[in-house]
Symmetry: C3
Subunit: 300 residues, 3 copies
Amino acid sequence: MLPITGTFLDEITHDIPSQNWGREEWARDFDAMRAIGIDTVILIRAGYQQYATYPSRVLQQQMNIFPVYLDLVDLFLEQAERCGMTFYFGTFDSGNYWQNGQYEKEADLNRRFCDEFMERYGQRPAFGGWYISHEISVYNDGMMNVYETLSTHLRNLKPVPILISPYIKGIKQFGSEAISPEQHRKEWDAVFSRLQGLVDIVAFQDGNVPLENLGDYLAINKSLADQYDIRSWSNVETFDRDMPIKFPPIDARKLRYKMEQAEKSRVEKLITFEFSHFMSPYSIYPAAHHLYQRIVEWKS
Amino acid sequence: MLPITGTFLDEITHDIPSQNWGREEWARDFDAMRAIGIDTVILIRAGYQQYATYPSRVLQQQMNIFPVYLDLVDLFLEQAERCGMTFYFGTFDSGNYWQNGQYEKEADLNRRFCDEFMERYGQRPAFGGWYISHEISVYNDGMMNVYETLSTHLRNLKPVPILISPYIKGIKQFGSEAISPEQHRKEWDAVFSRLQGLVDIVAFQDGNVPLENLGDYLAINKSLADQYDIRSWSNVETFDRDMPIKFPPIDARKLRYKMEQAEKSRVEKLITFEFSHFMSPYSIYPAAHHLYQRIVEWKS
Amino acid sequence: MLPITGTFLDEITHDIPSQNWGREEWARDFDAMRAIGIDTVILIRAGYQQYATYPSRVLQQQMNIFPVYLDLVDLFLEQAERCGMTFYFGTFDSGNYWQNGQYEKEADLNRRFCDEFMERYGQRPAFGGWYISHEISVYNDGMMNVYETLSTHLRNLKPVPILISPYIKGIKQFGSEAISPEQHRKEWDAVFSRLQGLVDIVAFQDGNVPLENLGDYLAINKSLADQYDIRSWSNVETFDRDMPIKFPPIDARKLRYKMEQAEKSRVEKLITFEFSHFMSPYSIYPAAHHLYQRIVEWKS
């Protein structure tokens, strides 16, 4: 079975509780990642609203961010280096500008913020990819401009792969406002025709649609991405969207089924949102410890 | 104090997160059950919608179930045998037919599904009871037919006790749509008059009504069941229905009070929904570990 | 940094699940409190609705309380004595009378209930404060009478400090019904002008307002309390109000920021709601274990 070899790092988030880890706890978690073959770590976002992962001057000036007590970018780069992993840097999400139509402002701020990142961390050996953190599910002209501005700028700063991880506007997340598979195909045909050459890898989230339809969506996504020369990964979510609690680790059986479906669709790599909360032996959620055991069993 | 000596096994559910246990984790949990005197385990349902506990041909054909990676029926029988427990087999819940008035379809599918169970596992020494998993709270003519069809069929397959575990349409679960104790008595008078001779044991759920009214409901249930020659157990729920999180382990004080009330009502046995999540020393919820300690203390 | 040196004890609550601790578990938790310098423990309420922390005759007669299996007041006093801490006794909350305008009934019951507490536990060496558990956020004439009656009565029973811990009617808890900082100032000017000389210490809850406005509110609170000769503590909440789950332990970064803001406002002491669930190394929430580690690091 194609294993999960990449994970997001989610320590600035809007709906997943912090595990309150320090240096040591993160180090042992990277060890656990490495032990099951994780070779890629992706910072979900380097900042969100007034929260930042490193003490950025740019964000201090423009966003009046709260103090940064521990430089997570430095820490994650250090751990990725120690463990031989590639680190993808996730852009800043204002939680405000692009959600309110101020697309240029979001892009401009990010350009300056990524310049600052390059100055501070650009030469670090583990840094090997960009992740544009702004998630979309349908065509949106303003966001196309953001992607265009950012990917041109980022590629110029360092020519490493640029990743996005969109969601499907599916029933499990949107109920009656969900779009049909046909509409999904049309939307992403339009999106990819704009992003061709700008984005290198797409890793659709796989948890927004009913499990029984996942195979169909994966097939649509793969064939569209192929058509526009974009590489396909799958973001095999390891949290459970079917429970009244937001969110517990996923049922191992659903995870395995999703991994099998992703492999069938011939994506080249599986990543997940995300290891540390939902499948780590050190997670604050004990069901994640057992999920890790199941993954170890499946590999042997 | 009358101890809890039976538990449901809940590994196909719609609202309780999976613990992601494998063979070893289940084995140690059965050890913990045995240590406090559990002698009866009841599979809450052998399948639900497209999920199944064993790789059933019948369900593959009719329900297009997802792959079964671990045969839980086999595993639970094996553990029950090892620990000297009686295993009750819970019927399949389509999550669809009977909820939409297709009572015959639900019953027919279950007949074939239970035939298959008998072929595969009917001779296993721990198998000693049937559990009709379809839960009702008021009289429903269609469901009476389901119970009638199923109990006749099951008794024919193997003449072991048939258990049901209904809920009370109480305030804690139904708010203003709850029914009064008098209405509850009328409904169950009607139900039991149909189920007499078909169902052997009734174990009402005890968490749907305010704690201060539990004694009254228990008395009604016991006297009605006696009247129709149905044996009474109490399903002393070990999850807490009073919290904003669905669901944590229950407060030990409420559990003890409910056990005392059940004993007072002179039911013959206490079972619970359910040991592994809510009172096990190995639960993913640490409050369950402490609840187990309290139960050990109460016994000594 | 000004450390947290006081905590509520929350074992009768309406929305935080019980940890199901017995004597031993509480004892080790008090050890963990002492290890980081906790010198003050405040019983959040000695009873709520039909639940009580000690087997009170008064509550048995008037509230028909459920059985008390473990005397928590005795246990907490014993632990506080062992650990050299001061114990504040929290009054009874009917969960009914004062919420429905029956202010006198709430006050009368509490007078008799506190008399009973004095008889049973008044001479215990750790007992050193009263906590009036009824929380308000704006001026309320009926509640002023409750505070007046109670504080006069309590001071007469034993002249030790009287504490309250009000909430701010802020956006994070009340959304569009929140009041402005100016309105908050007016309300509490009115409240304090009535409570001057009756209440000794006020510890506002600090989690009801956006983090970026906390400093402003703390300044308002401190200057008002000073004006009316009331001592200021801050109730630095250690649960997270920003998550979909009610409630996980707070993100350590937010906690640190709140502690820094509180210190800046020159309050004399930091207490928290509450140690045992949200920052204890023995909490049922593992994120609390890590929060404890962070607090240990910050102190060194």
